[in-house]
Structures are given as structure tokens and as C-alpha cells.
């Protein structure tokens, strides 16, 4: 048995359901992880795409509250996201809606569970549910930094040409 306490992120994309499950463990107790997830001053330090600066436009982490944040590169807003805090249950559970403004018809329902592993460790499980397999795959493919939007534009053109 290895003695490593690996905190590697695990991703599960159900082949039959439009869901993405992200599991990660942290070397901090649930209350602290929860705070880093909900306190805007802390959230701004880690959430958001790489190589961008993040701006929180509003952030009201209460049940029924809402949020919007944007990612900036070279003074230009490159992406923005918004949604509502459907349920905020301190240190235990966070349920949010999530929309990428570049794709306004899409909305994901994100349920985050903070699980106490003891010894000052926490496991977070985020389950995101979207409305179609296409949307889910598009989100997974958004891991590709570029090419996807161009790809879709080409696909649009192709589909129109088939009519």
C-alpha cells in the first residue's frame, strides 16, 4: 500500500447522462474549504481560467442570492459567468446554477458537497447537470483553449449547406 495522500482531481463523465462529476480532496477542514469557495475575496484568487485575471461583478452567497464573475486578459473581458445560489448550507453543501454568457441558452445545475474526511481533510464532489449530451461534451471540450468556437462556426456552416 502506498503512503501517498494524492489530491489529484478526478473527473467522471457519465456515458448515458449529461453530467460531469469532479472529485477533489484538500488538506484543510470543510469549514475552511467552504469559506475559500464562498468568500469572494478568496474565490477571486483561484477560480477562473488560467492566465487571466478575475473580477467578481457581484457575489451574494446566500440561498436565493446571485453571482457574476468575469475573466480578463490584457484589459479585455474574455469570458463571463453568472448564476444563482440555489442553496447555501455552510460547510456542507452548495447548490448553484451556472451559465457561460458566451452560450446563454446553456445552464448547468451544480451541486457541491463538502465531506469531512477527518485529520483536517475534505473531499469535495461537484456534480454538474446540463440539458443534453451535446452541451456536456461541449463543456468537456472547452478544456481545449482554442479551436472549438471556430469548429462550431464551421459546423454551423456545414449544417446550413446541407439543407
Amino acid at each position: 500500500m502506498t503512503a501517498t495522500t494524492s489530491n489529484e482531481t478526478r473527473i467522471e463523465a457519465d456515458p448515458k447522462l449529461p453530467t460531469i462529476r469532479i472529485v477533489r480532496e484538500f488538506d484543510a477542514p470543510p469549514a475552511r474549504v467552504y469559506r475559500a469557495w464562498t468568500d469572494p475575496d478568496l474565490v477571486v484568487q483561484w477560480l477562473g481560467p488560467k492566465d487571466t485575471s478575475m473580477k467578481i461583478d457581484y457575489w451574494d452567497a446566500r440561498t436565493g442570492g446571485s453571482y457574476r464573475y468575469s475573466a480578463w486578459r490584457d484589459g479585455v473581458e474574455i469570458a463571463a459567468f453568472y448564476g444563482s445560489f440555489h442553496e447555501v448550507r455552510p460547510d456542507r453543501r452548495l447548490v448553484q446554477t451556472f451559465t457561460f454568457e458566451g452560450y446563454p441558452d446553456g445552464v448547468s445545475l451544480e451541486t457541491m458537497v463538502f465531506e469531512d474526511l477527518g485529520n483536517g481533510r475534505t473531499r469535495t464532489t461537484a456534480l454538474g447537470v446540463v440539458d443534453s449530451m451535446e452541451s456536456r461534451d461541449a463543456i468537456l471540450a472547452s478544456g481545449m483553449d482554442r479551436g472549438v468556437i471556430e469548429g462550431y462556426q464551421k459546423l454551423d456552416a456545414l449544417l446550413i449547406s446541407q439543407v
Binding site: R35, A36, D137, A138, L140, G143, M144, G151, L158
Partner: protein, 118 residues
Amino acid sequence: MTEVQLSRAFTALADPTRRDIVARLSVGDATVGELAKPYGVSLQAVSKHLKVLEEAGLVSRSRDAQRRPCHLEAEVFDLMTAWIERYRRQAEERFQRLDAVLAAMDQDTTHQQTGAAS
């Protein structure tokens, strides 16, 4: 597989009909006629979908026989793994930043506690 190829493959698979075709071909090779049957669409429409899949390197067609059956390139599954891995790595990068935030909070807390005790 380059990023451009990966992107092209993703684009090809963004269409549900094409994904169905890929699913059908994962069972075994099939002709255009056999692929067209379940959709009630023209051979021409299926051929167009196949062309996209071929250009994306997901499907190949033998040149010799008249039947010209379509064959799925098994890399497609590696490809899907690659998407997910890419997405996973981005999440991991984000969480490593969160690790750093949590570690800094720990120091703050320790500092505050020390402060309160003194």
C-alpha cells in the same frame, strides 16, 4: 494528435447523427446504405456526415471493393479520453491554486490564534 486534429474531431462529434454513426461503426464496419437505413435519410446526407468524420480522421473507407465499407478508427476513444484529461488538468490547475489559498488561510488562522493567545 495535434490540437487542430483534436478540435476537428470534436467538431465532427458535436453532431448527434454523426455520433450515432460512430456508435454503429464501433460494433463493426458498415456500408453507407447500412448506415442510412435507421435514419430514413438519403444516402447523400449520410455520405456528407461520413465525409466530415473521414476528414476528422475518425472513419476510414476501403478503396478496393464496390461496397466500400466504413471503418471506425479506434483512436476515437483515445480522443475522448484526451478531452476529459485536458478538462481534468484545467480543474487540477484551479484546485492547486485553491490549495495555496487554503494553506495561506491556515497561516492566517495560526497567526490570529497566536495573536489572541498572547
